[in-house]
């Protein structure tokens, strides 16, 4: 199914969870310091494995970086 990740279109498995997507993106090792927002709502780390993605979902994967 098609979703949007960080503003870019992406195709993922029908029953993919947030956790599985992060694993596929090789972001698992960045877990500390990464946060996820699904359709404008924050998804807590504890809920990553149980949150299934839906078609046309908009996901933002963010981290802390340099800033003033």
């Amino acid at each position: 199914m098609d979703i949007t990740v960080n503003g870019e279109p992406r195709t993922v498995a029908e029953t993919a969870s947030v956790a599985e997507l992060l694993e596929a993106l090789r972001l698992a090792q960045l877990e500390a310091g990464v946060a996820v927002c699904l359709n404008g709502e924050v998804v807590r780390r504890a809920d990553w494995a149980s949150t299934r993605l839906q078609p046309r979902d908009e996901l933002e994967i963010v981290q802390a970086t340099q800033g003033g």
């Binding site: 990740v5 960080n6 503003g7 870019e8 993106l25 090789r26 972001l27 090792q29 960045l30 310091g33 990464v34 946060a35 996820v36 927002c37 404008g40 709502e41 924050v42 807590r44 780390r45 933002e60 994967i61 963010v62 981290q63 802390a64 970086t65 340099q66 800033g67 003033g68």
Partner: protein
């Protein structure tokens, strides 16, 4: 000066700082200079932003892990947010990502001046205070706005000295003095500091600290400027604690007037007018 300042800690929310200089982490030539500058500045709290992970290079060097290793208190900001919803979401993401409830709330109204949108700022701060955040708003140097932010439960107030990155210093010291009278919370001048004397002035006016980024990051020698800011902040704070002399309109001789040799002027300057 060392003894006087040693006990002079700054408490913001549940954190105690011995340095009154908060530094930003962006716009440095490279990470090595950034880390050396933070060390030279003696800062204990640094700001960070929340941005999308680069999915094409997710394990690319991220300085935040280096900052965490060095035990800096991280103060995430809502830079880049123009709406209440975005600021609130960014704060929630920063809490998730970093495990801190501290948040510097900035909601900008205009991209030329980067001036805060006060209406949205107050609304976002109210929401975030209610959600349990330790809110530090970047705001205008307007005593009324600062008082409102203090009353709604922020842990510090951060009025600008001049627009972000402008280096113009403290443009309205009179307002900062009014804000100091109106607000009992930690008062941190955030934005516009250009050089060490600006930082010193902020502390001399009774502010509790300064937050700056561009003044150090874009200086010709950021590490040296960070050290200068460290000393400027400490000098300003010591001068404030020492209790300055009042300003007077006319001179007050500093050498004794009894037992003077020689002639005295027969007229005073003011009587020569007209």
């Amino acid at each position: 000066m060392e003894d006087a300042l040693q006990q002079d800690v700054l408490r913001i929310g549940d954190v105690t700082l011995t340095s009154r200089l908060i530094l930003g982490t962006s716009r440095y030539p490279n990470n090595e200079v950034l880390l050396r500058a933070l060390e030279a500045g003696g800062t204990e709290m640094v700001t960070v932003a929340i941005r999308r992970v680069n999915l094409n290079d997710p394990t690319g060097e991220n300085v935040v892990s280096l900052l965490r290793q060095r035990d800096y208190h991280l103060l995430p900001n809502t830079a880049g947010c123009f709406t209440v919803k975005d600021a609130v979401t960014t704060a929630e993401l920063s809490r998730e990502a970093l495990g801190t409830t501290f948040i510097k709330v900035e909601i900008i109204a205009d991209e030329d001046t980067l001036y805060p949108d006060v209406e949205k700022l107050i609304e976002a701060c109210r929401i975030l205070v209610d959600a349990g955040f330790q809110v530090m708003p970047y705001c205008t140097d307007d005593p009324v706005t600062c008082r409102k932010l203090a009353d709604l439960g922020c842990v510090a107030i951060m009025p600008l000295g001049a627009p972000i990155g402008s280096g113009m210093g403290i443009l309205n010291p009179y307002n900062l003095r009014l804000i100091r009278e109106a607000v009992k919370l930690p008062l941190i001048v955030d934005a516009g500091v250009g050089t060490a004397s600006d930082a010193a002035l902020a502390l001399e006016l009774g502010c509790d600290g300064v937050l700056l980024n561009t003044a150090v990051a874009k200086a010709k020698d950021p590490v040296l400027m960070a050290a200068a800011m460290r000393d400027g902040v400490r000098a300003g704070r010591a001068a404030f604690l020492a209790g300055r002399i009042p300003r007077k309109q006319y001179a007050d001789p500093s050498s004794p007037t009894k037992g003077m040799l020689g002639e005295r002027p027969s007229r005073r300057l003011s009587s020569m007018a007209g």
